[in-house]
Structure formats: structure tokens, C-alpha cells
């Protein structure tokens, strides 16, 4: 192969789904040895575009050229044969839950042309271990992929990509489920790939990452390319303007709320191997954040409070009354709502419609004479679609065909009309664009104003600092430190979250 960097060019790509256009003739250029950011609000068409590039979808119109010659990419296999590899946004669509981590990493290898007839298990394991080491990920090779956490799943997919001889790599929001530390390791790998002359498309909603890594930026809005510029010639405000079509002001709107009586009290809660006796409480009108690194046990804490996992000790009280945590239905009756971390598996019923997803937790309120009233359902759904700005072609659309960020909005939105007094949010802004993120914070702030208690679990310290009245730091299954609003810096949080400064408080 010669050393001239390869060039990939998409021009005039158009695609519509059952008559609703998602892309109207988009152009994109990618050179070997560059990291090219692809930005846009939720539903702008980023994923659709790169799925066309990687052969997962067929385009309606448009041309793809590789080094000046038009190529046909009509299947993922064809894309791979041209050296185009992709890590998709929805990790669960790309993993085989029943197979081991090692096999999932080597999945592409099984299907590569000329891979031979027999499977060599020994070298397969060796190579899988090697790529994981490159990523600095510590995941047991024999574990079934279905048992991994979201972050681990994401790492497996990235590892899979590293096993291939790629010329172009597409990463669709790979950092969304990762902690800063893991994201940092990913960036080092990306830089190494760039150094080998590989061209990378990088999709993210975290703008700082863009300016840290990328040489060029393309912004999309509503299925069109707005512009492509060198990263040095633009800035976050410029990008936000292009993405949202309006100026973006304050990322963390902080609404004033009266902090009142104690609503949520958790004492001595234990669950699984990750929640080791947690005490915490949240007052009415208060937003309390729980921060911690990946694996600290935040997700398991929220699930234990909600009764999604069995707890092995401790108590949860809402407004002074103990709540059974045998199953989520009990917690819901007790006034708790949870927006779970893995929306696709846990937050939405993908095969069903937007309307029916949005009304599921509140069906009891939509009855008339004991029967469901279609009018009331529609009114409730309309309200939520408007309030959260869910981009949908109608409430009959199947949620599986919404863009990732809009699915997340459905997962949040369905809880808003409930009578819950305690809201648990587990990483609700993963995969959500900056505009929508603000909308979500606004929603959370409004909930607090209405006198609800909010527990906000996140590994993004910046967010916690931005919106929380109080921040609890979780480390190894326990709360190790508490800060009031404005008391903590990111660095300080990180130190405690890593068990530093003596590890205890």
C-alpha cells in the first residue's frame, strides 16, 4: 500500500423512512489520518448517515467514493471489505449476549472473507486478550457479554474494532457510557490510530472532547449538513448555534426551589456485591447528586432503592413511610420513579409506539369509567412530546425508530406525569444533545420546584456541580463524602471518587 492518505467522500446522501425524510442530500469528506467530528442535535441524522456509510442501511440517493472511485456499499460486509469499520451507538444491537467476551471481540473475524473453515480457539483468545490490554480494559474473557455493564459492553465493541485492519473507523457516541478515565484511554487509542493514517469519524455530544481531539468538524441539523470547518476555526458557541439553530446560553439552568421536609431516606442499604451499606437522604425540592467512577455502584444503588434488584439489608423510606423494595411496582406505589441507565433494554419498549410508551406508568390516571380513554392518552402524550421536544413523526411511530437521544427523552418523559415524590435519574443525559440536555435539566429543576426529591446519579462531575444542591461521592459501594452546592471542584470530586485522601470521610 502506498502512503498517501486515503480519502473517503460521501455526496448527496439522502434517505427517508416510510416517506419521512431523515437525510436530504448530505456531503461528508474524510481523510486518512484525521479525526473528524460529526455533530448535531438528537435526530439530526448522524447515525443514519454513518449507517449508510457502513452498509447497515441502503441510501435512497447519493454516491460514496473511495480514493476518487465510486464504490458500492450494500452490506456491512462490503463496507468491511473496503476497510470501513463502525462502532454503533446502540451497543446491544452489536453484541451477542449469549457468547463470551472473547468471541464478541473476535466477531468480525469469524465472518471475514478468507477467514478459513476452522476456528482456532487458542489464537482467538490470545488476540482478544491483547486488544483488551491495548484499551486498558479489565474484562474477564469468558464472561457472557450479556452480563456486562454498559461501559464494558462499549469497550468490547471498541476492542472488536481494533482487531481489524481498518482504513476508516466510525465511532458513534462511544464515550457516552464511559467515565472520563475510560474515555481518556479511548482517546489515546484513537490518536494512535490516527498516527497510523486511519481516518476516524467521531460522533459525540460532549463538545470539549471535540476540541481536544478533532481536526475537522461537521455539523448537521434536520438531515442537512450545515457546515464543515477545521476545528481551530470554530468554537463551542459556533457549533451550538449551528446545531440548534439558535444561540445556546446556559447549560445548567438552576431553578430556585424551596427545600422542605425529608422525602427520601435510605439507611444501611445493601444489595448485590456493589452496594455495601448506603445511607443517604433527600429533601423535598432538593436535587442531590451521587457521583462516582464507573463501577462505584451507582446504578446498583438506584436499582436497589427502586426495588429493581433485591436488597439484602437496609431500609428505604419515602416521606417517613417505609417502602417495600421487593419489586419496582412497590416502589412506584411508594412514590419513587427511576429513569434507568440502559434505555434500550430498560427504559423503553422499543417495538411499541411513542404514545403507548409515554402513558405506560400513568395508565391508572387515563381511565374513564374504568376504561382507557384514547383522548386522554393522546392529550397526555402530546403534552410530553411538546415539553421534551421529542422529535417524532407522530405518536404512532415505533420508539425503536426514534434517534437515540429521543428514545432517552421518552424514557424520561413517561415519568413526568406520575405522582412520584422521589425521582431517581441514572445518567439521564447520556447520548443527549446539548440543547436537549438543557431541557432535561429544566425538567428536573421543575420537578424540584414542585416539591419532589431528586436523586441524580452520574459519573460526569461537571453536571453534578452544575445542577445539584448537594453532592454525594460514592466509592466502592458506599458514600464516602458529602459536599454542599458550590463546595466542590471537579478535582476534589475525582480524588474522593477514586478513594483518595485516606479514602474515608
Amino acid at each position: 500500500m502506498d502512503n498517501r492518505p486515503s480519502r473517503l467522500r460521501l455526496s448527496g446522501i439522502a434517505k427517508s423512512f416510510s416517506g419521512v425524510p431523515a437525510l436530504h442530500g448530505v456531503d461528508l469528506e474524510l481523510a486518512g489520518g484525521e479525526i473528524h467530528a460529526l455533530l448535531g442535535a438528537n435526530g439530526a441524522g448522524k447515525s443514519t448517515l454513518i449507517k449508510i456509510l457502513s452498509g447497515a442501511y441502503a441510501s435512497d440517493r447519493g454516491v460514496i467514493e473511495l480514493d476518487g472511485a465510486a464504490v458500492r456499499i450494500d452490506s456491512p460486509k462490503a463496507a468491511k471489505e473496503l476497510g470501513i469499520h463502525c462502532v454503533y451507538q446502540e451497543v446491544d444491537t452489536a453484541l451477542v449476549p449469549g457468547l463470551s467476551v472473547a468471541e464478541n471481540i473476535m466477531l468480525d473475524r469469524h465472518s471475514a472473507a478468507g477467514a478459513g473453515f476452522w476456528v482456532d480457539w487458542k489464537s482467538l483468545h490470545l488476540e482478544a486478550a491483547e486488544t483488551l490490554r491495548r484499551l486498558g480494559a479489565d474484562i474477564p474473557l469468558h464472561k457472557r457479554a450479556g452480563e456486562l455493564t454498559l461501559a464494558e459492553k462499549q469497550l468490547v465493541l471498541i476492542a472488536r474494532l481494533l482487531t481489524e485492519q481498518a482504513r476508516f473507523v466510525v465511532l458513534d457516541e462511544p464515550t457516552a457510557p464511559l467515565s472520563l478515565e475510560e474515555a481518556e484511554r479511548l482517546f489515546r487509542v484513537m490518536e494512535a490510530l490516527r498516527a497510523e493514517g486511519i481516518g476516524i469519524v467521531f460522533i459525540t455530544h460532549r463538545l470539549p472532547e471535540v476540541f481536544r481531539l478533532c481536526s475537522r468538524v461537521t455539523v448537521m441539523r434536520d438531515g442537512r449538513r450545515i457546515w464543515t470547518k477545521p476545528a481551530a476555526e470554530t468554537n463551542a458557541d459556533d457549533v451550538a448555534l449551528a446545531m440548534l439553530g439558535r444561540r445556546f446560553e446556559d447549560e445548567y439552568p438552576k431553578l430556585d426551589a424551596d427545600i422542605g421536609e425529608m422525602l427520601l431516606e435510605v439507611s444501611g442499604l445493601r444489595s448485590g456485591s456493589r452496594v455495601k451499606g448506603v445511607d443517604l437522604n433527600v429533601r423535598s425540592g432538593e436535587i442531590t447528586a451521587v457521583v462516582g467512577l464507573v463501577g462505584a455502584g451507582k446504578t446498583e444503588l438506584s436499582r436497589a432503592i427502586f426495588g429493581a434488584d433485591a436488597s439484602s439489608g437496609g431500609e428505604v423510606r419515602v416521606a417517613g413511610k417505609p417502602v417495600r423494595t421487593a419489586q419496582p411496582a412497590d416502589a412506584v406505589r411508594g412514590g419513587i420513579a427511576l429513569v434507568p441507565e440502559e434505555r434500550r433494554r430498560q427504559g423503553i419498549i422499543a417495538s411499541d409506539t411513542v404514545l403507548r410508551n409515554l402513558t405506560l406508568p400513568t395508565l391508572g390516571k387515563l381511565l374513564r369509567g374504568g376504561l382507557l380513554s384514547r383522548r386522554r392518552e393522546q392529550r397526555s402524550a402530546d403534552g410530553l412530546i411538546a415539553r421534551l421536544g421529542i422529535k417524532t413523526s407522530g405518536y404512532g411511530q415505533s420508539v425503536s425508530t426514534l434517534s437515540g437521544g429521543n428514545q432517552q427523552k421518552v424514557s424520561i418523559g413517561k415519568w413526568i406525569p406520575t405522582d412520584a415524590s422521589v425521582y431517581l435519574f441514572d445518567e439521564p443525559t447520556k447520548g443527549v444533545d446539548i440543547g436537549a440536555k438543557r431541557d432535561i435539566f429544566q425538567v428536573i429543576g421543575t420537578l424540584a420546584q414542585q416539591g419532589k426529591a431528586v436523586l441524580y446519579l452520574t459519573c460526569e462531575f461537571q453536571e453534578a456541580i452544575g445542577i445539584a444542591d448537594r453532592i454525594l461521592v460514592m466509592y466502592d459501594g458506599a458514600i464516602v463524602r458529602e459536599f454542599g452546592r458550590g463546595e466542590a471542584s471537579q478535582e476534589e470530586l475525582l480524588i474522593h471518587a477514586s478513594g483518595g485522601r485516606g479514602g474515608t470521610s
Binding site: A308, P328, G347
Partner: protein, 330 residues
């Protein structure tokens, strides 16, 4: 161009109904006796048993399960209800309540295995299918049961199948056969259940994604248990109607009904382009199967072609629907 697309969409959406309509039209033209009130009532009566079982299957499919044990529940109820009358001379109320209790019990056992031990639905209900059909055979020692039957010890049984019971399968209410009336009431109720009640909606949502439904506060265990209990109950009604219609308790009679009910539900997937289990579809699926059996008999088509024609119509209906669904998706 646009109008054209609309037309094909229409054909696809109503494709299965059109197929059913054409089949009926064809038979009506072939033989003037086909499209008469009497014969249509006959057809509906002939499908009523399968229809009840198919409603049961629809429930289990709606929670993304599958109840293979309904056929053996039918057999069990046939044997049990007739034995109560013939062996023990029990009054009608006891017979009916006892039979429904058996259906519910089978449903409970199924859901115990599925919900508590978390055995996948097909596996659990296949095992229970064998268990229940075994229990039925042990209960009757493999015998069929009929009025004043001769017992293994040579004596004759004291009871008969009561006329009130037979009326359930053979009687008429204002000119409508009783099983047809029951079936229509059942379909309407179940339709209302799925469309307008909270529990019906929760069932379908549980079927769509159990974990997400659970995390939305749906008591999924209770919902799935309910679905299997309802499945057992409707199968039990099917068994009662079978016994009332034939007036005797044939051993193992329910097994073939399973396949027929499943076929009805699957034809139903096609109705209105739903592509998934739905109660209106189940009704039309059952009708189609009844119409075919009746019409082909009238046409004097060799009996051995029935399966082929049934399969062909099924393929046609499914193909129309799924070509449509996939065109829409792509």
C-alpha cells in the same frame, strides 16, 4: 403514483380479509347452500371450540410467551367434566366450576415454572403439556367416558351427561347456537380487555419488553401469571364446549386442537397488517379455518387435500402481511 401506492397499501393492509372474503365468495358461488344463515351458523359453531382455545393462545402470545399446554388442558377438561357427571353425578354448576378451576390450575402451574423458576415459556409449557396429558390418561386410565359407561369392573356408571350440559354445545338461544353466542361474547370482552383496560395494555407492553415494563412499575409477574391463567381458563371453556358438543369424553381429543388454534392465531397476525397476535385477527383466523373445512367438504374436494389448501391459504395470508410490513419498514 401516490394513489397507486395507497392502493397497494390498502391491499396489503386488508389482504388477509380480502383472502377470507374471496374464499367465502368462491364457496358461495360454487354452492348456493354455502351462504345461508343455517350454514354460516354451522360454521361458527364448528369453530367455537378452536376459537376459545385460540383466545387462550392469544393471551400467552401477547405477553411474548407461548402456551403449548392448552391442547392437553382441553383433553383434561373433557375427561374431567364428563367423568364428574357420569361417574359422580355432580350437578352442572360443580362440573363447570371444577373444569374452570382445572384450567386455572394448569395456568398457575405454567406460570409458576415460567415466572418463578424462569424456565422459558415454550419449554415449560411443553413439559406441562406432557404432565397434564399424562394426568388425563391416568385419571381415565385411557378410557373414553360416555353416559352410563361400563367401568373396568364391569358395572355401569350411574350418571349421564346432563341435557343442560349438552345444551351448552348443541342448544340455541334466540336462533343463535349457544357456543356461537358464547364465542361472540368472549371475543367482544377480550377485545375490550386488550383495547380499553389497563391490564390488557400492560399485558401487551410486558410482551414488548418485560424488563422495561417491570421498571415502569408493571407487576410483570402478576401480569404474566394472569395471562397464563386466562389461557388455561379459555382452554377449559374450549374443553367444556367440546364435551358438550360431542356428548362424550374422548381421551386425548384436545391434542390436535392445539395446532388448529395456533394456526388460527397465526393467520390472525395478518389481519389489518398487525404482524403480531391480536384478538380481531384470531377471530378471523378461526373463521377462515372453519370456512375452509366446511366449504371444501361441500365441494367434495378429496379429504387428503385439506391440509394442503389450509397451508396454502396460511402461506398466502402471511406473505401478504409480511411483504407489507417489511416494505413499510425498509
Amino acid at each position: 403514483m401516490r394513489a397507486n401506492a395507497k392502493l397497494t397499501d390498502f391491499i396489503f393492509k386488508y389482504g388477509s380479509l380480502i383472502v377470507i372474503g374471496l374464499v367465502i365468495l368462491f364457496f358461495s358461488l360454487w354452492d348456493e347452500h354455502f351462504f345461508t344463515y343455517d350454514n354460516l351458523a354451522s360454521i361458527l359453531r364448528s369453530i367455537s371450540i378452536t376459537a376459545f382455545v385460540a383466545i387462550g393462545v392469544t393471551f400467552s402470545l401477547s405477553v411474548d410467551g407461548f402456551d403449548l399446554s392448552v391442547g392437553s388442558t382441553v383433553s383434561m377438561v373433557i375427561a374431567f367434566s364428563t367423568a364428574l357427571m357420569v361417574w359422580y353425578e355432580m350437578p352442572l354448576a360443580v362440573v363447570i366450576i371444577g373444569s374452570l378451576a382445572i384450567g386455572a390450575a394448569v395456568g398457575l402451574v405454567n406460570s409458576l415454572l415460567i415466572v418463578l423458576i424462569r424456565i422459558p415459556d415454550l419449554l415449560a409449557t411443553l413439559a406441562i403439556m406432557y404432565v397434564v396429558s399424562g394426568l388425563q390418561q391416568i385419571f381415565t386410565k385411557g378410557n373414553s367416558i360416555y353416559s352410563n359407561m361400563i367401568m373396568p369392573d364391569g358395572s355401569s356408571a350411574p350418571g349421564t351427561i346432563s341435557p343442560a350440559f349438552l345444551w351448552l354445545g348443541q342448544g340455541e338461544l334466540l336462533g343463535v347456537p349457544v357456543p356461537v353466542a358464547l364465542m361472540i361474547v368472549a371475543f367482544v370482552l377480550v377485545f375490550v380487555f386488550f383495547t380499553y383496560t389497563r391490564m390488557g395494555r400492560q399485558m401487551e407492553m410486558t410482551g414488548g419488553n418485560e424488563e422495561a415494563a417491570r421498571l415502569s412499575g408493571v407487576r410483570v409477574r402478576r401480569i404474566r401469571t394472569t395471562a397464563y391463567v386466562l389461557s388455561g381458563l379459555f382452554a377449559a371453556v374450549g374443553g367444556l364446549l367440546f364435551a358438550a358438543r360431542t356428548g362424550s369424553g374422548q381421551s386425548g381429543a384436545g391434542a390436535p386442537i392445539l395446532m388448529e388454534a395456533v394456526a388460527a392465531v397465526f393467520v390472525g397476525y395478518s389481519v389489518l397488517g398487525a404482524g403480531r397476535p391480536n384478538i380481531i385477527g384470531t377471530f378471523f383466523g378461526a373463521v377462515l379455518i372453519g370456512v375452509l373445512l366446511n366449504g371444501l367438504t361441500m365441494m367434495n374436494v378429496p379429504y387428503y387435500s385439506n391440509d394442503f389448501i389450509k397451508g396454502g391459504v396460511l402461506v398466502l395470508a402471511l406473505a401478504i402481511t409480511f411483504i407489507h410490513l417489511n416494505r413499510r419498514k425498509a
